[in-house]
């Protein structure tokens, strides 16, 4: 009896505590697993939110879940407090959002990477194949051996899409180019195995490949490391990874999650937020290739000109992807 009273007291304290910590009129950003400063997906979302805060002077709340079970709880908790907009980052929110969003019809949700058809949800995904097409062109133009590689993480349709765009882009530059394709594994451990990633990269380099594009999360760090040791090139993914090994990372295929977060927060604050499904490709600044001070020396003006031309043609619909 005494015990249950104690538990009840603790529970009420906990709910009271979390209630006090939350304000109600600010947009809320809920990250994917992995933490705010992951140098990738979440950090991009964070920088978009920061841009909103600095440019408008409005504040926002954010939350880092540490396991999947917290995702639904967090959505519910912030929705119940009457947050005007809740942004959920990552495909892992697909199921929790489908469940929570109908319960709170007055709350607006923005889902990045998930795809949900509900009147109060805006879902945004990316045309990874368009960005991959451009880095495929760069790889083919940089390759001297006429042979380039692709290393995917887990063998899932999303990653196949990266590979398909890359292949098509490379073929557009050199129809005879040889493309070697490897996958790290068939389970989620494939995202966290830089050793096998490096080993696959070494094996590709030994067979004549001189540029490798990896779409494999942290496993890609092993690919970059192997490229550095073999003095060949690697292409980064999701965020701008050019700084990891300047001179080795040829370019990066970036997903502009920051733009999505920024625009969605801005739209919510001036009342123009609208639900629906959006797919962001090159035309909407959703994906791009990265050039900065770390790789500027590797990309010639001629390469830039051809890639920019292809980008224009994709946006104009003169090149169609995925035949």
């Amino acid at each position: 009896m005494k015990k249950s009273i104690l538990i009840a007291a603790a529970l009420s304290l906990m709910t009271w505590g979390s209630g006090a910590a939350l304000a109600t009129s600010e947009p809320v950003l809920i990250y994917d697993l992995g933490g705010k400063f992951d140098k990738s997906f979440n950090e991009a979302a964070y920088s978009g939110a920061e841009r909103y805060r600095i440019e408008t002077g409005n504040t926002y709340k954010d939350f880092e879940p540490t396991n999947e079970a917290q995702m639904e709880q967090a959505l519910k908790r912030f929705a119940r407090k009457g947050a005007p907009l809740v942004l959920a980052i990552g495909i892992a929110y697909q199921t929790p959002l489908e469940k929570v969003a109908p319960e709170f019809p007055d709350v607006h949700f923005t889902a990045v990477d998930a795809n949900i058809n509900l009147p109060n949800v805006q879902s945004v995904s990316f045309r990874e194949d368009e960005g991959s097409y451009l880095v495929g062109m760069i790889a083919a133009m940089k390759s001297e051996s006429g042979s380039i590689g692709f290393i995917g993480g887990m063998d899932i349709p999303l990653i196949r899409k990266f590979g398909a765009g890359y292949t098509q882009g490379a073929r557009s530059v050199n129809p005879d180019i040889k493309i070697m394709e490897n996958f790290v594994g068939a389970t989620p451990t494939a995202w966290n195995d830089p050793i096998r990633g490096g080993e696959l990269a070494r094996s590709q380099f030994a067979r004549g490949v001189d540029v490798i594009y990896s779409a494999a999360g942290p496993t890609g760090l092993g690919v970059i490391q192997a490229a550095k040791e073999a003095q060949q090139y690697a292409i980064g993914v999701d965020s701008n990874q050019n700084h990891i090994a300047p001179g080795t990372v040829l370019t990066s295929m970036v997903k502009r999650v920051d733009v999505v977060v920024y625009e969605s927060m801005l739209a919510a604050s001036d009342g123009t937020w609208a639900p629906g499904n959006a797919v962001r490709g090159l035309a909407e600044d959703g994906v791009d290739y990265a050039v900065d001070e770390h790789n500027a020396a590797l990309i010639t003006d001629e390469m830039t000109a051809r890639v920019e031309e292809a980008k224009r043609m994709i946006i104009a619909g003169e090149i169609t992807l995925g035949e």
Binding site: G35, F37, P194, I195, L200, S203, P218, E229, I244
Partner: protein, 324 residues
Amino acid sequence: MSDLFFTLLLLCDSALRLAAPLVLAALAGLYAERSGVVDIGLEGKMLGAAFAAAATAAVTGSPWLALLAGIMTSIGLALVHGFVAISQRGEQIVSGMAINIAVAGLAPTLANAWFHLNGQTPILEDGARFTSINLPFANALSDVPVLGPIYAEVISGHNLLTYLAVALVPLGAWGLFKTRFGLRLRAVGENPGAVDAAGISVHRLRYIAMTIAGILCGIAGTALSIGLSAGFVRDMTAGKGYLALAAVIFGRWYPVPTFLACLLFAFADALQGQLQGTPLPFVGEVPVQFIMMLPYIVTVVVLAGFVGKIDAPKASGIPFTRDR
């Protein structure tokens, strides 16, 4: 012919690299089990060492300090397991699993708290790692037919810890079978009562075995994070600790056969990387999923089909109690 030969050399080179942490972990498991302690926590010890080594290398820039940190961490975990399994006579599988699970959670959490890099450590510069060493004359001798390429491609160009792993196999065998300590260690795994009756402390011997296992797992983890790669990534051991245990069983608790088993597993692993996307004679290109099953098929076939009667150390997994 020469193409096939070259491919084979690359496979062996890759297999040797992948085998190094496996060999070290398997030797650790072998010493632990020979002393009568079942050690399923190889995975956790390796992962802990990998994290400690990468974190130390990132902060100090010294691979040697990193190696020391890796070994100390691993010994610490080994002694925790030892305390549960030897002094407290606890359930050894549970304690080993507890170490695996605790480290799998703790290492990324600490990495996140210290480096803010999504549970990873920073990418290390070459000076903070054990980089590959080119053995003398590797280039000069590569023109010698057959032996030259073998020396240049397979033997040369590994990091220091890989060579250490290979050197520790005969050393481990000598220690176990040619020294008085080794005789006692084997006896304590078969019949601890007799060792105790001879006036030798069973607990002390088992603690020493756990310390040796800790040192070996420490080197294995360090090899993973600052030898084979350039930083710690969560769950980077990817089941190597369990594979090492399978190698110990396949090698019937003898060092050299265990070493060969590790090489076999590593070779299958290297082969699956090489075969992906390569058309095979008669069958054409094999689906990726099928090729990725290779290492596991080899493990299952080998363990189920070729090991035969498993003759584990008799007292393995049984805590020693003097009273009867």
